[in-house]
Amino acid sequence: MWDLTTCALDTAKLRGATYADARLMHIRQRDLTTKNGAVGTLAQSESIGIGVRVLANGAWGFASTDKLTREGVAACAAQAVSIAKASALAKRGEVKMVPEDAYIDSWQAPLRKDPFEIPLDAQLDLLLKADAAMRAVKGVTLTETGMQFRKIDCWYASSIGSLIHQRKVISGCGIAATSFQGTEIQKRSYPNSFGGQYALAGYELIESLELLKHAPRVAEESVALHSAAQCPEKIGTLLLDGSQLGLQIHESVGHPIELDRVLGQEANFAGTSFLTLDKLNKLKYGSEIVNVVADARLAHGSGLGTFAYDDEGVPAQCTDIIKDGQFRGYLSNREMAQLIGLNRSSGTMRTESWNRLPIIRMTNISIRPGSGSPDELIASTDDGIWMETNRSWSIDDRRYQFQFSTEIGWEIKGGKKVRMLKNPSYSGITTEFWNSCDAICGEKYWTLWGTPNCGKGQPMQTMGTGHGASPARFRNMKMGTAFSGQ
């Protein structure tokens, strides 16, 4: 593999590139789903190729190919240089980057059970049993389960001398029960919606989730929601479970801190950000108990944003994003760091595959745990609504105004959950939301949630991101608006 990356770098240099890096990636994936007791998708894929990024005439070019011969790779590198020279026809300045050291390293994410070595029939058997356990509940009209596994090898080489091999295995699974009655479709998912929980882990993740234990409850709740009261429209106290708070972090902290958005590079598609440069170290993003980090290091946990080096050869780091409520940092790369006067990239360049250009992406954007348990959080709440498991999410293109709805809610009165609520939703303005946070549960209840489906970039790239969170409480929140006036 290194022969081919070297060939790419040599060709790029020969053609006039002043900088080049190459990522040769081999990606293997397995997808299994069931629906209503039958196997749905049953597929395996592999993809291998190389992407070459170059700077020539002060502008970027990128080309990729699956022709992994010396001739194919050289042609690809030459194409990248000619594209960079075309870019220079519409440039306004020279691309510059902050310095970075060269690294020669090989890293493998921790893994106890390789999911590709677990017999397929055992994997399907587990899904079919979970599916059956949900279908056993009267009133359930649709059951779905799924598992996904990815094994990614990346050989990265750059013209500054880095040679880095990384291997990552990602596992994910989830189950969902849907119930249609009258004029309502209600759904419950476990351990999270939209595919479940994902992590940088092996089959041990699947075993730890105890799907069969949770399947009956999930199914029963999907049916029970039909008899539950409608979530009221009001301003009041909101309590969020960790998975929903994880998505809230993703949308209202993770995206606005991407420096490419802040600097206008995503203005046409993903949008910009309210976190303009003047707000760094000045904006009171949240209340004093809100501490958010961007942490790609393994020490933070095995999340979808965990790695040893980003796709620009920069080592994994932990960056303060919100410290004691104050806005402290962005997600950057070597070019953006240079543009705003930082002395180093925060190491967040990531690519979906060999045929995509690395762009700034979230790593693990997590809120630090506070103290206490969810039971204590509820017991200390006189009047509020607990919301759990995302159902829909939406936020404006500068990441100010959001609206989320969840699959299930619980009304809290006098420190106790008193009744189930259906169709819960809440909405607000990002900074007002985070400043209204007055309690965050402790480390024991903190989970590093995986969001496997974050879309960004053109051509579109789907990336997995991590979000550590424990349940938390927010005061004076607007709730129930999504269903008002329908």
């Binding site: 894929s45 194409q79 046409n268 006036g485």
Partner: protein
């Protein structure tokens, strides 16, 4: 791009390997893509990419079981490994009740969606067009961002029952956002032929609308008459169409469950799925290799027909419509080439006929709030304007909406003729601009 004979040869190789490995039936999909995209922001190109890739996807059937394996390695050993992987997956599952034999040879209506000039568009040509658009932004004191992409692709299906379905197309797209201080507006075009649109006209339109978007005022939330430009219509109604899959009704997750044949939308709404429409792109066959049929989904506001894959058609006692996804999958089928009936109005006429309302350029981050009433939430973006006494009078701060698509299609007052529209959340369709009353805005944002 590979020639048809090269693709044929690859298919024959995989079919031979399938037979040797003991597959009862084998199906091969080959997808080849050559794409390039130049991306600009802050009035300069900042990303510029090209890719060439080919994948071979193999589905085998053995003893009433089926599974799929995909690779982009084209040597015989790798193709053999893909066949064996597919068989191994297939063997791992219980026997599938009612698994159909693969379809045999089919006849397809010819469509020509490949233009040489689009396939040959160079990075220099894209860069020069981008440079001109950025120069306009600079002259107008604005900042431009966007993309100019061009590419070609081909998709071929072959199977051991002699089905052979080849298709190729070109596609080009130009999208531009013009930022004017804190305001912005947007324009976009997509076509099979790069000559069908003029990037400079799109840039000029976005520039003018960005200027109009300045000094936005905040309005109270509530129900407004809206004039939705085609891109806004597209991204909203795009969330409705999986509901027309027979599988979605069988699963009782469609908003049409118990509503087929009823007057669900206004009588002025008619929708067909028609891959052969001159403004559509896409293959004249589905993921199973069946010819796509034109299906009248909604006539005079009544949803009357669904689309069917072979399996759902058999279960429902219907004929397949050629809308199935590649097997195996749990979603069945979906209409992919929507064409709305449209009307004889225009955005200008709609504005002129409105005493008070809002003109919506595009919508953003649309998600489903209520799957049966089809309530969608989302934001307006890149140009929301107040219409008073038949004229656009000022810009308005963006709103969040929570709006039922069923209600929306009941409340359409007038429509322009339908034409190919492109946006960011739904695939391209042939849709009109629409004037709609009682559109529900629930909260404003800060800009």
């Amino acid at each position: 791009m590979s020639s048809e004979s090269e693709l044929n040869k690859r298919i024959e190789t995989v079919l031979r390997l399938g037979k040797l490995a003991g597959a009862d039936e084998t199906e091969v999909h080959i997808d080849e893509t050559i794409d390039a995209l130049s991306r600009f922001a802050n009035n300069a190109i900042h990303q510029n990419v090209a890719e060439h890739g080919i994948t071979i996807s193999v589905r085998t059937v053995v003893d009433g079981r089926t599974a799929r394996a995909t690779t982009n390695r084209l040597d015989e050993d790798s193709l053999r490994a893909a066949v064996e992987s597919s068989l191994q997956l297939a063997h791992s599952q219980p026997k599938i009740t009612g698994l159909l034999l693969m379809p045999g040879k089919q006849r397809y209506r010819k469509v020509n969606r490949f233009t040489k000039q689009t396939a040959a568009t160079s990075p220099e040509e894209r860069a020069r067009a981008i440079r001109k658009a950025c120069d306009l932004a600079i002259r107008n004191g604005q900042v431009a961002a966007g993309i100019f992409s061009s590419g070609q692709s081909q998709h071929v299906i072959g199977n051991s029952r002699e089905l052979f379905a080849p298709y190729r197309q070109t596609e080009a797209e130009f999208s531009i956002t013009m930022q004017d201080e804190s305001a912005a507006s947007w324009a976009k075009a997509n076509s099979g032929n790069v000559r069908d649109f003029d990037p400079q006209k799109l840039a000029a339109r976005a520039s003018e609308k960005a200027r109009m978007a300045k000094d936005a005022q905040e309005l109270a939330p509530g129900k407004y008459t809206v004039i939705l430009e085609p891109a806004a219509v597209l991204d909203l109604v795009g969330f409705l169409f999986y509901d027309f899959a027979a599988t979605a009704l069988a699963d009782q997750r469609s908003c049409l469950t118990k509503r087929m044949g009823k007057q669900l939308f206004g009588k002025n709404i008619s929708i067909t799925d028609d891959v052969y429409h001159p403004q559509q792109l896409g293959a004249p066959f589905d993921g199973e290799g069946l010819p796509r049929q034109r299906v009248a989904l909604v006539e005079d506001g009544i949803p009357g027909k669904l689309v069917y894959s072979r399996a759902t058609a058999k279960k429902s006692g219907k004929k397949p419509t050629g809308h199935g996804f590649a097997l195996p999958n749990e979603y069945g089928e979906a209409p992919m080439n929507l064409v709305f009936g449209g009307g004889d109005s225009s955005v200008e006429k709609m504005v002129a006929s409105t005493d008070r309302g809002l003109l919506v350029t595009r919508v953003w981050y649309i998600r489903e709030v209520d799957p049966y009433e089809k309530v969608m939430t989302g934001m307006t973006r890149d140009g929301l304007y107040l219409v008073e006494n038949g004229k656009v009078t000022s810009a308005v701060r963006n709103f969040r909406f929570n709006q039922s698509l069923i209600e929306l299609l009941k409340n359409v007052e007038s429509m322009s003729p339908a034409s190919r529209a492109t946006a960011e959340e739904a695939f391209e369709m042939v849709v009109p601009a629409m004037k709609v009353h009682n559109f529900h805005f629930t909260e404003p944002t800060k800009f």
